[in-house]
C-alpha cells in the first residue's frame, strides 16, 4: 500500500529541544532495529542549546540514487526513497558523499547503506513514522497540510532547496516563517553565516546583570 497522499512529513528545527526522542524511536523501527537513521546535532553548544534533527528528505530526484553505480537505491511510486537493496549495494559510499543533506549512513558491519525509509511499514498503513509520533515538541510532525496550516498559522512549509547550482525538491517539508522571504533556502550561503541564535544569546548575561 502506498503512503496516503494527504499525509506529509514536516520538520521544524525551531521547535527542536534536542531530547533525542526521535533517535531513540528510530532505533525501534522494525526494519532497522537498534540503529537510528536520524542525525541530531547541536549547532554550536558553546553558544546555544539549538539542535537540528535531520531525517531523509526523500528527494524527487534523489542524488543518492543518481550517483549509485549499482542502481541499489529505489524510490517508490509514492515518493519514498528506500534503504539500498542488500543484494545490489556494493558499499561504495557514493551516496553517503553525494547526499546534499548528509543523510545516508554506511553500515560497515552489514556492508550496506542504510537510510530512513519514512517508516514504510507504518506510513504505508496510515500510521505516523516513529520519530514524528513521539517527538515531544513536534519539531518532527506528520499529518495533512490543512492540519499544519491550522496548528501553525505563522509558518509555511517549503520543499525546494538550493545547494549551489543544484535545485532540489523533496517530499519532506521544512517549516519556515510565513512572513519571511519566499526564496529557497540556500544552504551553502548559510555555511558562512554565524550559527543560529548565537549572537542573540551572547548578550543575555551581560556583565551589568550578573
Amino acid at each position: 500500500m502506498p503512503v496516503p497522499e494527504k499525509l506529509e512529513f514536516f520538520v521544524d528545527p525551531g521547535r527542536c529541544i534536542g531530547c533525542q526522542s526521535c533517535i531513540q524511536a528510530c532505533t525501534e523501527c522494525d526494519t532497522h532495529k537498534g540503529q537510528s537513521m536520524i542525525q541530531l546535532d547541536f549547532i554550536d553548544r558553546a553558544g546555544s542549546t539549538q539542535t537540528v534533527p535531520v531525517v531523509c528528505m526523500h528527494c524527487d530526484s534523489p542524488t543518492c540514487a543518481e550517483v549509485c553505480p549499482a542502481d541499489a537505491i529505489k524510490r517508490t511510486e509514492d515518493g519514498v526513497v528506500q534503504t539500498a537493496r542488500k543484494p545490489r549495494c556494493i558499499a561504495c559510499n557514493n551516496c553517503v558523499l553525494a547526499c546534499p543533506f548528509g543523510v545516508p549512513k554506511m553500515s560497515t558491519k552489514m556492508n550496506l547503506m542504510m537510510k530512513c525509509d519514512m517508516c514504510y511499514d507504518r506510513t504505508s498503513v496510515g500510521l505516523k513514522p516513529m520519530c514524528a509520533s513521539v517527538c515531544p515538541s513536534q519539531a518532527l510532525a506528520f499529518g495533512t497540510r490543512e492540519e499544519m496550516a491550522r496548528l501553525r498559522p505563522n509558518a509555511k512549509p517549503i520543499n525546494t532547496f538550493q545547494f549551489g547550482a543544484q535545485t532540489i525538491r523533496t517530499k519532506v517539508n521544512v517549516m519556515v516563517p510565513k512572513d519571511g522571504p519566499d526564496e529557497h533556502v540556500d544552504v551553502t550561503a548559510a555555511m558562512y553565516e554565524p550559527a543560529i541564535g548565537h549572537d542573540i544569546l551572547d548578550d543575555v548575561f551581560g556583565e551589568e546583570q550578573s
Binding site: C19, Q24, A25, A46, K128, V134, S137, Q138
Partner: protein
C-alpha cells in the same frame, strides 16, 4: 567486604567496586527478541510511562513475559503518542541483567557484600528486627521511607502500614525532595494541592510564564503545549538561571539569579499595582489579604528587583507589562523555584501575581506546578507524608483521625502523632534515636543533599531493609534487600500532573522471588502477627478502601473506579460519589478545572470557589530571604543542580538503560565562558567543584547558556560523581524541602582525571 562507610570529615565515599561488579549498574541494550524483526507481540498493554509526572500514555509490546518495545498510544489525549527518550527506552529496564531475583542479606565475607537469601527467611528476619527494635526502643524507633513513583494504592498501603501496623510516627517519602513546597504553598493559598487546570488550558493562554522549570528536559511533552500556545500568539516568558531548550526561543528570558525568585515575583506585583494591572473585582470578591501584600511589595521597585535578581530592569518591566495586561495566561513552575530554604515563599509569591491578575478558575486562565515523579501528585495525597492521612487529611486533626481510624477499624488514640520529614529521619538515624528503617522507592544516598551525612546515618542504623528491583546505591547499605516490583509488573493507578488519575496495567510477571510491593509489605505485617487491615487481595481492593478513606476529604476519590478511569482516559479528582442536594456530581471525567465560579467544595460548602470556609483564596505576604548559604570569598560561585533529559532522578533505572546512558553518559559542570576564562578552564577539562560539605570532579562544559556567577551540575549519579555531595541540607521551615538549587562552591581545574575515571563505567 565490610559495610561501605565514609569517615566523618572525609567527603569521598568508597567506590564499592565489588558490589558494582555484581549488581551494576550495567547498561542494557536491545538484544534477541527485542531486535528480531517481524516478531509479533503476544499483546499490547495500554499503560503509562514509569518515569515522570506527565504520565504519558503508551503501549508496551509483550512477548514471552518480556517487554520487547513500545508502541505509541495515539488515542490517549494528554500526549497523543508523543514520548520523550526515557519513555521510548523504558522497556529496557525490564528483563535487565541487574534485576534482583532474590532477597539478599548483607554478608561481610561475600565478595560483593551480599548473599542471596530465601524470600520467606528474609521476611522473617525483617519482622524479627522490627519486633526487636520497637520492643527495645519504642515504636517510633523504626522509621519508614517511601516514594512517589509508587502507585497510589501502594502509597496508601505504606501510610497504613506505618500508622496502623507499625504504629510509628516516622514515615515520610521522597516527595519531600520534590513536591512539598508547591503543595504547602497551594494549601496556604487555595486550600487544595493540585494543578488548578488541565493542560488544555495552556493552549489558549496569551502569556505563558514558566518559572524555574526546565520543561524541555524534565517535562518534555509540555513543550508542545507551550509551542502550540505560541503558534496562536502567546508570549512565552521563562525565568531561569540557564537558557534551557524551552528558553532558547522564548519571547522574554528572565535570567534570575538562583534563590531570588520571591524578589522577582514581588517586583512584578509591584509594577502590576503601580500600573493598576489588577482584577480588582476578583481581588475583592474572591480573595483575602491583598492589602498587606500590596504594602509588602511596595519596596520591590524595579531597580531593587533588578539589583537582587540580576535581571535587567527593562526586562522586569516588560514581563510585568505582558503579565499584567494579558487577558488569559498560564503560570507554571517547578523545582527551580521550589527547591529552596524559602521554597514555599517563592511559590506563594508566584501565586500572588496569579491572584492579583484574577486569571484562574476559567478557561485558558491557569496555574500549576509541574510534578516531578510518576505519582508526584497521587503520592502526596493519601497518607505517606509525615503529617498526613488519606484524602489529604491531617494526622494532627482530631476529626480527621477519627474518620480514618473508623475506616481502618482502629481506635483513633492509637494512631501515632505526626512524625518528622525524610531528612530529619536521617538526622535521627545519625543521632541514634531511630534504630531501624524500611525504605522503598527511594535512593537517598544519591538524592538527598549533603549525602556524605546520609551515608553516615545509614551506616549507623541497627537494621535497614530496602525494597527495590535493583541494587541501588542506597540498597548497598541495607542489611536485607527484598526484591520488589517494576511498574510494569503490577497494576494500580497514579495521578499525573493535571490531577488526572490514570491506570497502570500489568504487562509481565515479576521474575524469580520478586513480587508486587504491596504483597511484600503485607507479608511483613503478617509475619509480625499484625496483619489486621493489611490483607488486601490486590490493588483494586486497596483502591476501594482508599475511595472510602478519602470520601468527604479535599482529595476526594470516592467517585472514582478503575472502570471509570479506563472509560474516560482518566478521571480528575476531586470526584466525590455524593454531594449535597442541589449540587451536581462531577461529569464522567471528574473535576477538570478547579476554582470555577459557582463551584462547590466540601470546605467552602458553596460560599466560594476556593477551599476555605469563606470560599476565598489567600494572598500571602512573602518576605524575601536570600539563600541559606550565599557566596563569599572562600566559596564565590553559586552551584545549582538539576536534570538532563535522558536521565531520571537518582538514575537507579535510567543509568541501566544503555541508549539513555549514551546520550549523556556522565555529569558535566556547566559554566559560562567568562567564568571559565577567569579560572583557566577550557571545554572538556577536568574540574573539581567543591563546597563546605564535599567535592566532585567532573568534566567542564563551557557554555554561554548559564549565568556567569553560577555553575550547574546534574544530580543523577552516585558515589564520587554525585552532585549531592556538595549540596546543602538547609530546608524550608514549612515544607522541609532541601535547598538543592543554591549553595556556595569553588571550582578549579585539575590536571589528573579522578580515580573513578579509570575503574568505573560512565553510569556507575
Amino acid at each position: 567486604m565490610s559495610r561501605p562507610t565514609s569517615t566523618p570529615g572525609v567527603p569521598v565515599p568508597e567506590l564499592d567496586l565489588e558490589t558494582i561488579r555484581e549488581f551494576g549498574p550495567f547498561r542494557a541494550y536491545a538484544t534477541d527478541l527485542r531486535v528480531d524483526t517481524g516478531v509479533e507481540p503476544d499483546k499490547y498493554v495500554k499503560t503509562h510511562c514509569c518515569f515522570c509526572g506527565q504520565q504519558c500514555g503508551l503501549q508496551l509490546k509483550v512477548k514471552d513475559n518480556t517487554v520487547i518495545g513500545v508502541e505509541p498510544w495515539y488515542e490517549f489525549p494528554f500526549n497523543r503518542g508523543m514520548l520523550c527518550p526515557k519513555g521510548v527506552k523504558r522497556y529496557l529496564q525490564q528483563a535487565h541483567p541487574d534485576r534482583l531475583l532474590h532477597a539478599y542479606e548483607r554478608a561481610p565475607d561475600a565478595t560483593a557484600g551480599f548473599r542471596p537469601l530465601g524470600y520467606d527467611e528474609a521476611v522473617r528476619k525483617v519482622a524479627a528486627a522490627i519486633e526487636r527494635i520497637q520492643r527495645d526502643h519504642g515504636q517510633d524507633a523504626f522509621a519508614v521511607l517511601s516514594g512517589a513513583s509508587l502507585t497510589t494504592e501502594k502509597t496508601y498501603l505504606m501510610g497504613k502500614f506505618a500508622h496502623m501496623c507499625l504504629r510509628t510516627a516516622n514515615i515520610d517519602y521522597n516527595g519531600r525532595l520534590c513536591m512539598v513546597s508547591a503543595g504547602a504553598g497551594n494549601k496556604k493559598a487555595f486550600g487544595i494541592d493540585r494543578a488548578a487546570n488541565p493542560w488544555s488550558d495552556i493552549l489558549g493562554a496569551e502569556v505563558v510564564l514558566v518559572a524555574g522549570a526546565n520543561v524541555a528536559e524534565c517535562a518534555p511533552i509540555t513543550t508542545n503545549y507551550i509551542w502550540q500556545a505560541r503558534e496562536h500568539g502567546a508570549k512565552v516568558i521563562v525565568a531561569d538561571p540557564r537558557i534551557t531548550p524551552i528558553a532558547r526561543t522564548c519571547d522574554l528570558f528572565l535570567p534570575v539569579k538562583p534563590g531570588r525568585d520571591t524578589a522577582l515575583f514581588s517586583g512584578i506585583l509591584h509594577l502590576m499595582i503601580e500600573n493598576d494591572w489588577l482584577d480588582r473585582d476578583f481581588i475583592e470578591r474572591c480573595t483575602v489579604g491583598f492589602e498587606p501584600v500590596a504594602e509588602s511589595v511596595r519596596q520591590w521597585t524595579p531597580r531593587r528587583t533588578a539589583e537582587v535578581t540580576g535581571i535587567a530592569e527593562k526586562t522586569i518591566r516588560q514581563a510585568a507589562e505582558w503579565w499584567g495586561q494579558a487577558k488569559t495566561s498560564f503560570l507554571m513552575h517547578a523545582r527551580g523555584i521550589e527547591h529552596h530554604s524559602h521554597g514555599v515563599q517563592n511559590v506563594l509569591s508566584a501565586i500572588n501575581i496569579v491572584l492579583a491578575s484574577g486569571r484562574i478558575g476559567r478557561e485558558s486562565c491557569g496555574y500549576a506546578t509541574i510534578t516531578g515523579q510518576a505519582n508526584g501528585q497521587g503520592g502526596r495525597e493519601h497518607g505517606q507524608k509525615c503529617d498526613q492521612l488519606p484524602g489529604g487529611r491531617d494526622l494532627g486533626n482530631p476529626e480527621h483521625r477519627a474518620f480514618v481510624a473508623n475506616v481502618w477499624g482502629m481506635d483513633p488514640d492509637e494512631l501515632p502523632q505526626p512524625g518528622v520529614d525524610a531528612y530529619e529521619i536521617m538526622r535521627k538515624a545519625h543521632s541514634g534515636e531511630i534504630k531501624g528503617l524500611l525504605s522503598i522507592c527511594f535512593n537517598p544516598v544519591v538524592s538527598l543533599p549533603d549525602n556524605n551525612f546520609v551515608r553516615e546515618a545509614l551506616s549507623k542504623l541497627d537494621f535497614f531493609v530496602a525494597i527495590d528491583f535493583f541494587m541501588s546505591e542506597t540498597a548497598r547499605y541495607a542489611d536485607i534487600v527484598l526484591p520488589g516490583s517494576l511498574q510494569e509488573e503490577d497494576e494500580g493507578t497514579v495521578t499525573q500532573v493535571e490531577g488526572r488519575i490514570v491506570r497502570i496495567n500489568k504487562a509481565v510477571e515479576p521474575p524469580g522471588d520478586a513480587r508486587p510491593d504491596w504483597q511484600i509489605i503485607q507479608d511483613i505485617a503478617r509475619t509480625l502477627g499484625r496483619s489486621e487491615g493489611l490483607t488486601f487481595a490486590g490493588p483494586e481492593q486497596i483502591f476501594e478502601e482508599l475511595r472510602a478513606a478519602s470520601r468527604g476529604g479535599v482529595n476526594d476519590y470516592s467517585g472514582v473506579t478503575y472502570e471509570r478511569v479506563e472509560d474516560n482516559f482518566g478521571v480528575f479528582w476531586p470526584c466525590p460519589d455524593e454531594t449535597p442536594e442541589g449540587v451536581p456530581l462531577p461529569g464522567p471525567q471528574g473535576t477538570l478545572r478547579l476554582f470555577e465560579p459557582g463551584s462547590w467544595n466540601p470546605i467552602a460548602k458553596g460560599t466560594g470557589a476556593f477551599y476555605f470556609p469563606d470560599g476565598k483564596a489567600r494572598f500571602n505576604v512573602t518576605p524575601y530571604h536570600g539563600p541559606a548559604e550565599d557566596v563569599d570569598n572562600e566559596y564565590p560561585i553559586i552551584l545549582t543542580t538539576g536534570r538532563v533529559v535522558s536521565q531520571f532522578l537518582s538514575g537507579n533505572q535510567t543509568r541501566r538503560i544503555g541508549p539513555l546512558v549514551d546520550h549523556y553518559p556522565e555529569p558535566k559542570c556547566e559554566l559560562h565562558p567568562r567564568l571559565a576564562s577567569r579560572l583557566g578552564i577550557r571545554e572538556g577539562d577536568w574540574v573539581t567543584v567543591e563546597s563546605r560539605r564535599g567535592c566532585c570532579t567532573v568534566r567542564a562544559a563551557v557554555v554561554s547558556t548559564i549565568r556567569p556567577d553560577t555553575v550547574f551540575l546534574p544530580y543523577h549519579w552516585g558515589g564520587r560523581k554525585s552532585a549531592n555531595q556538595l549540596t546543602i541540607a538547609a530546608q524550608d521551615p514549612i515544607s522541609k524541602i532541601p535547598e538543592y538549587k543554591v549553595c556556595a562552591v569553588r571550582v578549579r581545574k585539575v590536571d589528573e582525571p579522578p580515580e573513578y575515571a579509570a575503574v568505573l563505567e560512565p553510569q556507575q
